[in-house]
Amino acid sequence: MPTLRSRLGTATLVAVPLVVLVAFFLYPVSGMIGRGFWTDGSFDPGGVLDVLGRDRVHRVVWFTLWSAGLSTALAVVLGVPSAYVLHRLSFGGQRILRTLIVVPFVLPTVVVGVAFRQLIAPSGLLGGLNLDGTATAIIAALVFFNVSVVVRTVGSFWEGLDRRTEEAAAALGASPLRVFGTITLPALLPSIASAASVVFLFCSTSFGIVLTLGGLRYANVETEIYQLTTQDLDLQAAAALSVLQIAVITALLVISHRTRRNAPALTRAAERGRRPAVRDLPLLLWTAAVIALLVTPLTTLLVSSLRIDGAWSLANYRALQTTGAHNALLVTASSALAHSLEIAVQAAAFALVLGTVVAFLVSRRPRSRAVRRASGVFDGVFMLPLGVSAVTLGFGFLITLNKPPLDLRSSSLLIPIAQAMVALPLVVRTVAPVLSSIDPRQREAAASLGAGPLRVLLSVDLPYAWRALVAATGFAFAVSLGEFGATSFLSRDDNPTLPVVIFRLIGRPGAENFGMALAASVVLAAATGIVMLLVERFRVGSVGAF
C-alpha cells in the first residue's frame, strides 16, 4: 500500500513537468489558435471549419500526407539493412559510422537546405538530374534527415534480440532468408512500426526543409501555417490547420504508443556482433550507398566552404571572427557560437531535469489499469511538442507570455525554454527504455531491505541509467545547438545563435558573406558531430531511437 508520503512525492513529480508543459506549450499554443477561433471578439468556429473546404488547403494536406508517407517508406527500406550492418555485425570504424548516421538528424535545417540546393542546383554536382524545385528533392532531404531514426531505433532493438531462436531455426535447416522472414522480421516489426510512425511525424511536420527546398510549388501544413501567419495574417486558416495537425499527430502518437507497448522491453546486448562475411556483401554495399547518400551533401558543404574563386582557402573560416562584409552581423559569428553553446547548456539542463522526471514516471508499470492508461496519456502529451508547428508556438509565446507571473517575452531564458520543449521528447525516449528495462524486483528487494525511495533510486536506478542520462544530455545539447524553427521566431535581441546567424548571412549580398555562412555551417555540423561522437562512447542504444 503506497503511503501518503510516497503519493505526495509522485504527485509532485507529476505536477512539475505538467505545469511546465501547460505554461510553455499548451497555454501559448491554445492562445494562438484561440485568436483564429475568436474573430472580432465573437466565437466563430464555422469560419475555421470553412477553411478546410478550400482547394489550396486540400492540396497542402495531400502533399503533406504523400510526401511524408513516401519519405517514411524510403527511410525504412534504406534504414533496416543498415541497422543490421551497423548493429549486428562488428567491424572497425563502426562507431564512427553510427555517429555519422545521427549527424544529419541534429543538423540545422537551414544548413541542410543550403547544402542540398548547392548539390542539386543546375550548376551543382547533381545538376544534370534536374531535381531543383521538385518533390524528389524534398523527399531526398527528408530521408537524409530521418534515416538515422530508423537505423537507431531498429538497430538498438535488433542488437538486443535473442539470437538463439534464429540459430535454432538455422540449425534445423532454414535458409537465411527464411530465418529472416519467419523469425527476425516478425520480432522486429514493433520497432519498425515505432520508427516509421515517428519518421512520419517528423516528415509531416518538417518546416525548414520544405521551406528551403519546396520553392513555391510545394507547401506542407507546417510551411502553410507559417505563410498564413507571417505573411497573410489569416489567423483563421492558420488555426484550422493547427487543429488539424494536432488531431493527426495525436492519432499518430496513439499508434506509436500502442506499437511500443507491444514491444518487449529493451534488453542489454550481451553478445558482440560477428565479423562481416562474404554473404553480407549485398547488405554492406547497401549500407555503403546509404552512407554515401548522407555524406555527399555534407562533403559538398565542406568543399564549397574551402573554395574561394576557384582556389583553396581558409579565409571563410577566418572571417568567422568578424561581423561579415558590410556589417552583415550585429555580433561576430564566433561570439554567436559561444552564445549558442551557452543556450544549449541551459536547454540541455532544463530538458534533462524534466525529461528524467517524465521518463521515471512513464517507465513505472503500475498495477491498476486506470493509472496505466493515465501514464500512457502522460507520456503522449510530452511527445506533442514534436508535432506542433514552431510558428504557432513561437507566436503563442509572443501573445501569451507577457503578463506576470509569466512575463518572459524579454527574458534571456525564453529561447532555452523553447528549445528544451523541443528536446524534451527526445530525452524521454532515450531514458525511459533504460529505466523500464530495470527489473522492478530489484527495487522491491532494496526497499524490503529498508532502503528509502531516494536510496533505491541512487543504488538501483542510477547505476543502470547514468549512461543514458549523460547520453540524453549530449543529445539534447546537440539538438539545441542546431535548433532553428522556434529560435528564429524568438531570437529578438542582438544576441543570436549560430543557426540564426547562418540564416542571416545567407540573406545578405556578397560572396564573402555566403562563404562565411558555409564555413559557419561546417563549424556547427562539426560541433554537433563531436557531441554525438562523445554520446556514442556511452553506448546507449536508445539515443536517437524511438
Binding site: A23, T212, G215, F395, L398, P404, R492
Partner: protein
C-alpha cells in the same frame, strides 16, 4: 484519498507560483522606465537591420538612451507580429515597415502619431499619402530592379535585356530567375512593378508570357541571387535576376574597379522604409528622439554601407561607387500603398494562378 488530491493540487499550484516567480525574476533585467524618457529603447525591426556601432553610440551619447534591436523576420512578419501583439507591444517603436505593408499597420492601429519637427525637403516625396504620413516617417528607400550579369552576356555575345518586355522575348528564354511574390518582399515588389507598368488588366498576360518564356520562380532572394544567379555566391545558371539597384557594387571583383553586373533602371519598383512609435510604448519619447536621429545626417549617411538602401535625405553624400554603379531609378513604377493593402490578397491569388505556384 480526498485529502491527498487536495494536497497535490495545492502543491502543484505553489510550484507553479514558485517557478513562475523565479523565471519572471530572471527576465526583469529588461524592464523599462514608464515615466518620461526611458534609458533603454526597444526597436522592432526586420532581419536586414545593420548599423555601425559608432553611429548607435552617437545616439546614446546625445540622449543617454541605449537602443536594443529586436529583429523579427522580414517586413511582412514584422508588421504581422506588431498587429498580433497590439495590446501589449513587443517594442517601443518600429523601423522597417515598408510601403507594401504600411497601411496594414496604420489601419490596424498599432502606431501612435509622430512626425519629426525637422526633416529634409526631399523627405516629403517618400511620405505615405493621407493620414498615414502622421504615423510613419520615411527613413530610406531602395529600388527593386532586374539585374543582369554583364560578363555572361559579353561572353555569349548577346545584348542584355533593358526593359520588362525584353524578359518575355525569345532571345532571353530560360535566363531569368525571380522571387515568389507570396514568399518574398523582393518578389512582391517585382510583381508590383509589373502591375504599375501593365495595369490591372494587363499584368496577368505579361506574367503568362514570362512563364511561357521559362521564368524560374524561387522562394526568396537568397535562393534566386545566391544559388541561381550566375554572378551570385553559388554560381548558378541564370544571368538575369530580380534584385536591387544597389546590388551591382557588391560584384566588383577583388582588385577590379567595375562591377560585373548592372541593374536595369526601367524595371524598378521603389520600396520605402518607415519608422514609427508604437501605441502602448513604454518609452514613446525615447522612440521620438530615435526617429529624429534616424532622420539626421550621421544616420542617413551610414544607411547605404550598412543596409544597402538610399537615404531619404537627398543632400547626403553617397559612398564612393554608388553614384556610378548603383544609381537609383529615375522613374520607378508606382502603386499607391492603399491599393496594395486593398488588393494584395486578390493580386497574390491571381499571381498564384498564373504562375501555377
Amino acid at each position: 484519498m480526498r485529502s491527498n488530491f487536495k494536497a497535490s493540487g495545492v502543491l502543484g499550484a505553489s510550484l507553479l507560483l514558485i517557478g513562475a516567480v523565479a523565471l519572471a525574476g530572471c527576465g526583469s533585467d529588461d524592464s523599462t522606465d514608464t515615466t518620461k524618457v526611458g534609458k533603454t529603447l526597444v526597436v522592432a525591426t526586420h532581419n536586414s537591420w545593420a548599423m555601425s556601432k559608432e553611429v548607435m553610440a552617437e545616439f546614446t551619447k546625445e540622449t543617454g538612451i541605449t537602443v536594443k534591436i529586436a529583429t523579427n523576420g522580414d517586413a511582412g512578419e514584422l508588421t504581422n507580429k506588431l498587429v498580433l501583439t497590439k495590446d501589449d507591444p513587443i517594442a517601443d517603436g518600429v523601423y522597417g515597415i515598408d510601403n507594401t505593408f504600411a497601411t496594414r499597420a496604420v489601419d490596424a492601429g498599432v502606431l501612435a502619431k509622430y512626425r519629426p519637427l525637422i526633416s529634409a525637403a526631399s523627405v516629403k516625396s517618400y511620405a505615405l499619402p493621407g493620414d498615414g504620413a502622421s504615423y510613419l516617417t520615411p527613413i530610406d528607400y531602395s529600388d527593386v530592379c532586374v539585374n543582369v550579369d554583364d560578363t555572361w552576356f559579353a561572353k555569349k555575345k548577346l545584348a542584355p535585356p533593358t526593359t520588362l518586355d525584353d524578359l518575355a522575348a525569345p532571345a532571353y528564354k530560360s535566363l531569368t530567375v525571380t522571387e515568389g511574390a507570396k514568399t518574398s518582399s523582393t518578389g512582391l515588389a517585382f510583381l508590383l512593378a509589373t502591375i504599375g507598368k501593365y495595369g490591372d488588366d494587363g499584368w496577368q498576360d505579361y506574367w503568362k508570357k514570362l512563364v511561357a518564356n521559362d521564368l524560374k520562380v524561387d522562394k526568396d532572394w537568397e535562393n534566386a541571387y545566391e544559388v541561381d544567379f550566375t554572378a551570385g555566391g553559388g554560381k548558378g545558371d541564370r544571368p538575369i535576376v530580380v534584385s536591387y539597384s544597389s546590388s551591382p557594387p557588391f560584384t566588383i571583383p577583388k582588385g577590379a574597379s567595375k562591377p560585373t553586373t548592372s541593374a536595369l533602371l526601367d524595371t524598378c519598383f521603389r520600396q520605402v522604409e518607415f519608422a514609427g512609435v508604437l501605441k502602448g510604448s513604454k518609452n514613446p519619447l525615447g522612440m521620438q528622439k530615435f526617429i529624429d536621429f534616424m532622420s539626421q545626417r550621421s544616420f542617413q549617411e551610414a544607411l547605404p554601407d550598412n543596409m544597402y538602401v538610399y537615404p531619404v535625405d537627398s543632400t547626403v553624400t553617397l559612398p564612393a561607387g554608388w553614384d556610378t554603379f548603383a544609381p537609383v531609378a529615375p522613374h520607378p513604377y508606382v502603386v499607391p500603398p492603399a491599393d496594395i493593402t486593398a488588393n494584395r490578397d486578390t493580386w497574390l491569388s491571381q499571381w498564384s494562378d498564373v504562375t501555377g505556384r
